[in-house]
């Protein structure tokens, strides 16, 4: 019994310690003014993290949009409401699937890469070497990746939503023959700027922040061995995914819940 209590205590202490170190990473990397050359570093990371994630985002968005239209059409056509497919798909994407699926894909594609890269830099003493040259790796390595993640995630969500809606139109209108006017008109009438688009983007911004934070911290805090980096990369994907799903529930509750 005592042993379990001790394990529990140890686990809690480890967890609080990690949280403290993670906060320091956040603080040190974002503290201080931007310096000369920071823009170049940031753009490079936006390319690595954002542009290179485009293919997986676009492919997934297209197939999810198509599937949503298919499923919606089969159900809605039973009651003769197939024109509402457009609105239904748009609401589901903008409010939920857009930010959440982009977040999950982003964690798997970009988050894991960031963790592995920083972890390997640590294992090969590159971070130490930088420190000894009087260059803060928090500023040089961690901060650009953190910022790039926070910038790219909302942009990728926008692209995801646009492609998914286009995919659903392709399936719904061009293939299944839903009336184009009803499809797009319903969407335009039903979707609200803040309520649907805005709140979805808030979610996406929060996810971007959390995923990037987890990814850089796991890399920076990894045990500098082959096994340690593999563990850190796995943790990034698992923690980010769980965080995205849990936060999505909380944010939905707070933003759309009846009890405010």
């Amino acid at each position: 019994m005592l042993r379990y209590l001790r394990l529990l205590g140890q686990w809690a202490l480890d967890w609080i310690g990690a949280l403290g170190r993670a906060s320091l990473v956040w603080f040190w990397s974002l503290a201080g003014l931007p310096r000369r050359g920071d823009m170049t570093l940031l753009l490079k990371q936006v390319y690595q993290i954002g542009v290179l994630s485009l293919i997986i985002i676009i492919l997934s968005a297209f197939s999810i949009g198509g599937v949503l239209a298919l499923q919606g059409y089969t159900q809605l056509s039973k009651v003769g409401a197939e024109e509402s497919v457009g609105l239904g798909v748009a609401l589901v994407l903008l409010r939920e699937l857009g930010p959440v699926v982009t977040g999950l894909l982003f964690a798997g594609r970009a988050g894991s890469a960031v963790t592995a890269e920083i972890g390997l830099m640590k294992a090969t003493d590159q971070l130490s070497a930088m420190e000894m040259m009087g260059v803060d790796p928090m500023h040089r390595i961690v901060a650009p990746r953190l910022w790039a993640g926070m910038i790219c995630m909302p942009l990728l969500t926008v692209i995801f939503n646009a492609v998914a809606i286009w995919g659903s139109a392709l399936v719904g209108v061009d293939w299944l023959g839903v009336d184009a006017g009803g499809f797009w008109g319903g969407m335009q009438d039903g979707v609200e700027r803040w309520e649907d688009i805005g709140k979805g983007m808030v979610k996406s911004g929060v996810f971007g922040m959390v995923i990037s934070w987890i990814a850089v911290f796991q890399g920076y805090d990894s045990t500098p061995t082959a096994e340690g980096i593999s563990v850190a990369t796995t943790k990034t994907v698992v923690y980010s995914s769980v965080a995205v799903l849990a936060l999505d529930f909380i944010l939905t509750l707070v933003m759309y819940g009846e009890f405010k």
Partner: protein, 266 residues
């Protein structure tokens, strides 16, 4: 200003239950080459990291250029490190950029020099280590010895006041070794640099070092010029200087009796 760049007093440091330093005292005079020797696993690299402020000791004073390193703030520490160079055992080259960019890195970050001047400086440093022709290679294309030399060129790019070399001679062929030995000596004399060399290569180190510290079991067991150490009264020191396997310095990492270990119940 004292004439010692580094003064370490009563340094204590332990990792878990293992005591690495147990009251270590050490002094590195300005403008000299000081060597640090000792059996593997005595924490020589750890000592370099403590001096560089990357590891905080449990207790003791570590004065570098008048500043007490463990008490410095993050900002002050980065400021202090601009005057230091450290050559890592693993070279620690940035693997995503070329040899040229590796050496140019400290210049680009810490100076506002125009590109042509940076180019000239980088080529001078690379020439000094004999790798001017390798400037466009990526670190993954270099051998271990070559990486070490590129790392050295990067370390001296800003002409720091003080350089710590962690095993600079490992993996070098005899020719490169000779060049490195004279390079370290030459840097020290022409630029009035202070050097701290960690090395196992007794002959090379003894040929350039002004004074040598031998560390074992967390403290200094012998110090002096290479000649003094060869005739040192302590058998431990002499054993180390001569490299003989038998003597008071154990070759084995602490372990149970060999026969018991091998023949004991499995």
């Amino acid at each position: 200003m004292t004439d010692n760049l580094i003064e370490i007093e009563g340094l204590r440091f332990s990792r878990g239950d293992r005591i690495i330093f147990d009251g270590l005292d050490l002094v590195v005079p300005r403008g000299r080459i000081t060597a640090l020797m000792g059996p593997s696993g005595t924490g020589k690299t750890t000592l370099l990291r403590i001096i560089g402020g990357q590891i905080r000791p449990d207790s003791g004073r570590v004065i570098v250029d008048g500043a007490d390193v463990p008490k410095l703030s993050r900002g002050e520490l980065f400021e202090l490190r601009r005057n230091m160079g450290m050559l890592f055992q693993s070279s620690a080259l940035f693997t995503d950029v070329s040899v040229f960019e590796n050496v140019a890195f400290p210049l680009r970050v810490h100076t506002n020099l125009p590109d042509e001047m940076i180019r000239d400086l980088v080529l001078m440093k690379l020439n000094a280590v004999g790798l001017r022709g390798a400037r466009d290679l990526m670190p993954s294309q270099l051998s271990g010895g070559m990486s070490r030399r590129v790392a050295l060129a990067r370390t001296i790019a800003l002409d720091p006041k003080f350089i710590m070399y962690d095993e600079p001679f490992t993996g070098q062929d005899p020719i490169a070794m000779g060049v490195l030995v004279s390079l370290i000596r030459g840097l020290n004399e022409s630029l009035a640099m202070t050097s701290l060399v960690v090395s196992h290569d007794i002959h090379e180190t003894a040929s350039i070092a002004d004074q040598i510290y031998i560390i074992s079991d967390g403290r200094v067991i012998g110090e002096g010029t290479p000649d003094q150490l060869r005739d040192h009264p302590s058998t431990m020191v002499r054993q180390f200087m001569l490299g003989s396997p038998d003597g008071p310095v154990p070759f084995h990492y602490p372990a149970d009796n060999f026969l018991d270990d091998v023949l004991g119940d499995a």
